[in-house]
């Protein structure tokens, strides 16, 4: 997880990890979640759903931090997060 600057209480910080649940058939491919996921965890899938929309999917290299912004933003109630665990935050400075 990238930080603007290293928090002083870094070792006490625990960063949540979330499971992303995508109701593929309910999605209408609006792209809000992909655009506004702060960790860029989502990308439009190549597989379209029954209605021909491309739902999001989790980018394998990315980790969801369960901020639930996608869940609150989704106009079709097609994505939600369940918090999996909380892990120590490690600083990966300057990574992309």
């Amino acid at each position: 997880m990238k930080f603007w600057r290293t928090p002083l209480d870094l070792e006490k910080q625990l960063v949540p990890r979330g499971d992303v649940h995508i109701l593929r058939e309910r999605c209408k491919g609006c792209g809000f979640c992909v655009e506004y996921c702060p960790e860029k965890v989502l990308a439009l899938s190549k597989l379209y759903n029954k209605k021909g929309y491309y739902p999001p999917e989790v980018v394998p290299s990315k980790e969801c931090v369960a901020c639930k912004f996608c869940e609150l933003l989704c106009p079709d109630f097609a994505i939600f997060i369940t918090e999996k665990e909380r892990v120590a935050a490690e600083v990966n400075r300057g990574e992309g």
């Binding site: 309910r26 609006c30 792209g31 860029k40 990315k62 933003l73 109630f77």
Partner: protein
């Protein structure tokens, strides 16, 4: 988008099948009516979620909350939300809500409707409900256009936007809704875009908890009509525009928060005043004159039902 997936995985690596787990919003929605009718990239679904989050945050007892909506895209909100809900006639959600509230003062009544419904045909009812400080929470989803009927100019359409009834560009000066609401007497007025999911729900919670007339205006993208006719891209592009051009100024003077076409605009919490509600004023007046003889209307039961 830098992290696009290069090759399509054979099977999506998903430990839990999403369909098995209920979406947290499902217990608040009439799931037998989902998916809803709103267009892709419309902001209305987000507003429904924000309203539910606001109700939860305000800890309103769900059985004590009624949703009243008028006609138009936003008018369909009542039908999807699992509360006592009333889909009334165009522009008349507010007086309907006034009657519902006064007949059953234990109910928290939320009016959810569009800019055309509330401020166009329903304008007369809005200014009076605000003047009376009627205990109602009004959520106006402002997409700057009459979308349901195919994209006609609305009282909020900023010039020179193109609409189906202003094919050569809108030219009438639009309403500044927070300014109008404050001048009529609303005690709480806030405006957010539909991207500000948490700010919306916090403002809605405050509006619900604050006695009197409150307005939460939500600027939401309309892809199929407003964005398309004005070549503004999709609803997502409009949302990006709103994100980059919405300037948060809590406490801004409402006279200064008018919205021009595709220009930066001000959002935030503008009004948080104290004024006695219609019911408080009425009860105080009646008690002062009638004393013990005054019997307030408790409501909630049909006076001569078995």
């Amino acid at each position: 988008m830098s992290d696009t997936v290069t090759k399509a995985p054979e099977r999506l690596a998903e430990p839990i099948r999403a369909e098995d787990l209920p979406h947290p919003m499902e217990k608040w929605l009439r799931m037998d009516r989902i998916p809803h009718i709103w267009c892709p990239t419309c902001g209305l679904g987000t507003v429904v979620t924000a309203l539910v989050e606001g109700i939860k945050e305000a800890q309103i007892e769900p059985d004590r909350l009624a949703v009243v909506s008028g006609i138009g895209c936003t008018g369909r909100v009542a039908g999807y939300m699992k509360f006592d809900s009333f889909h009334t006639t165009h522009g008349r959600a507010l007086p309907f809500a006034t009657g519902l509230r006064l007949s059953n003062p234990k109910m928290k009544v939320v009016v959810v409707s569009g800019d055309g419904d509330i401020f166009g045909i329903g304008g007369n009812h809005f200014i009076h409900a605000a003047r009376r400080n009627m205990d109602l929470t009004v959520i106006c989803v402002n997409n700057f256009i009459y979308a349901m009927t195919g994209g006609q100019v609305a009282p909020t359409t900023p010039g020179p936007a193109n609409t189906s009834t202003t094919p050569f560009g809108a030219f009438e000066p639009p309403f500044n809704l927070p300014y109008l609401a404050e001048s009529c007497g609303a005690v709480y007025v806030a405006r957010w875009t539909s991207l500000d999911v948490r700010r919306m729900s916090h403002s809605i919670a405050k509006a619900l908890l604050k006695p009197g007339f409150s307005l939460v205006e939500i600027i939401a993208p309309c892809s199929t009509l407003y964005a398309r006719r004005n070549r503004l891209g999709s609803g997502l592009d409009l949302l990006k525009f709103y994100q980059q051009n919405a300037i948060i100024q809590n406490g801004a003077k409402t006279a200064d928060v008018g919205i021009d076409f595709q220009r930066p605009f001000i959002v935030g919490e503008f009004v948080d005043a104290e004024r006695p509600t219609w019911e408080e004023l009425m009860r105080k007046q009646m008690k002062s004159v009638l004393g013990e003889k005054f019997i307030p209307h408790e409501g909630g039961e049909c006076s001569s039902c078995e």
